[in-house]
Symmetry: C2
Subunit: 200 residues, 2 copies
DNA sequence: ATGGCCATACAGACCGGTCTGAATGGTCTT
DNA sequence: AAGACCATTCAGACCGGTCTGTATGGCCAT
């Protein structure tokens, strides 16, 4: 029956509320009491689902990572043509950047707050980044295969792995830059640069 | 006595200690009491120099911005040749990335912790970024002037402003990426990409 | 003797986390 | 079908500790 679903309802409510607060206010600035009050949950219920605030943080990061990958795949699948799909990850940033509550990359923000002695957060962030680059690599592969085979005798940055690395560099740069400027400009710059590399 | 050497006035001692702690541990994770204890200062003295913790934060950001610009200029001036100077800002990142206590960009970290309602921190971060881009623009100008005048009829990204923007995008991307990976790899990738753009 | 510094105690708020106790509702036994 | 049972949730008091910031008082040098 609905047993399993309703069993996770309270937990989901807490996690959704905490995700919102952690992203908007930061991890340390958000107290468990606030999460409990905002999610309309008893304190004992909270601690039965998340034995400590750290556990809630890990759940938050795991959920954010999965959602990000899901969004990326959805945006890619919604487009047709190797080139359109290739630029999907960059272009989907535009509405996010221009939204009023854009606060940068959740992982970078949490890593900035986490003590460097705790490697778990950093490990999660790196794993997510690796997953994203894997996706970028397949997109790069497709877009390179669809190119005229060789305009030049293969300049160095034209293998899929290298292209994916540059792509991620520009992606991270755009995400970081937009925190200060909140414009689609870094996205356009990144796209121009990648187009330039593809045409070389 | 040691007084003269410790001319580093009380204020400077506090600021130096706080800068270290803020960068290594984060702003919220560092209490005023810890700053006071670590800098060997009385609490009253601390509050006479910095009326609130926020004031200390602003002083920290201002000092970090100035030091960063000074370092950039010093590294540029230490090199000769437009191209060597052009890549100085990227190459000076390498020893920083590989040092064990690299914790990313101080401004990004502080912005991640600052409440979005307080615009002052974000304003300082944007101002510093603008200053850096101004420097990058002059470097770009020099390196473009020293190029053979026109290999092509001027592809779009070859004016100094656009090149400086791409440069900063790659710079920010490298700084952010290195938090997770701690390698000089993103620096090399960024340099390759810029070289590629210059040769176009 | 005045002003800067030190040392320390203190205030009030908030932190993460524990605990008690009661209401709810589904499941199992009889 | 009725009652015992059990897990989950709710509401909130409470704990020790830490937070920022204030106040007090002594010391020392100019």
């Amino acid at each position: 029956m609905t047993r399993v679903i309703e069993t996770s309802s309270v937990r989901d409510r807490i996690l959704a509320t905490a995700s919102d607060l952690f992203y908007r206010q930061g991890y340390r600035a958000t107290g468990v009491n606030q999460v409990i009050a905002a999610s309309g949950v008893a304190k004992a219920s909270f601690y039965s689902h998340f034995p400590s605030k750290d556990d809630l943080l890990y759940a938050y990061l795991a959920a954010a990572a999965r959602q990000d990958l899901d969004d990326l795949h959805a945006e890619v699948e919604a487009r047709s043509g190797a080139k359109a799909r290739f630029f999907a990850p960059l272009e989907m940033l535009v509405p996010w950047f221009e939204s009023s509550d854009y606060r940068g990359c959740p992982f970078q923000n949490i890593v900035a707050e986490a003590p460097p002695s705790d490697p778990r957060v950093r490990t999660l962030a790196r794993a997510h980044r690796d997953n994203v680059r894997t996706l970028l690599r397949t997109l790069a592969e497709d877009v390179l295969n669809q190119r005229p085979p060789a305009r030049r005798p293969a300049a160095p940055p034209l293998d899929p792995d290298a292209l994916a690395e540059v792509y991620q560099l520009l992606l991270e740069g755009a995400i970081a830059t937009a925190v200060a400027y909140r414009t689609r400009r870094p996205v356009d710059k990144a796209i121009q640069t990648l187009e330039h590399l593809l045409e070389a």
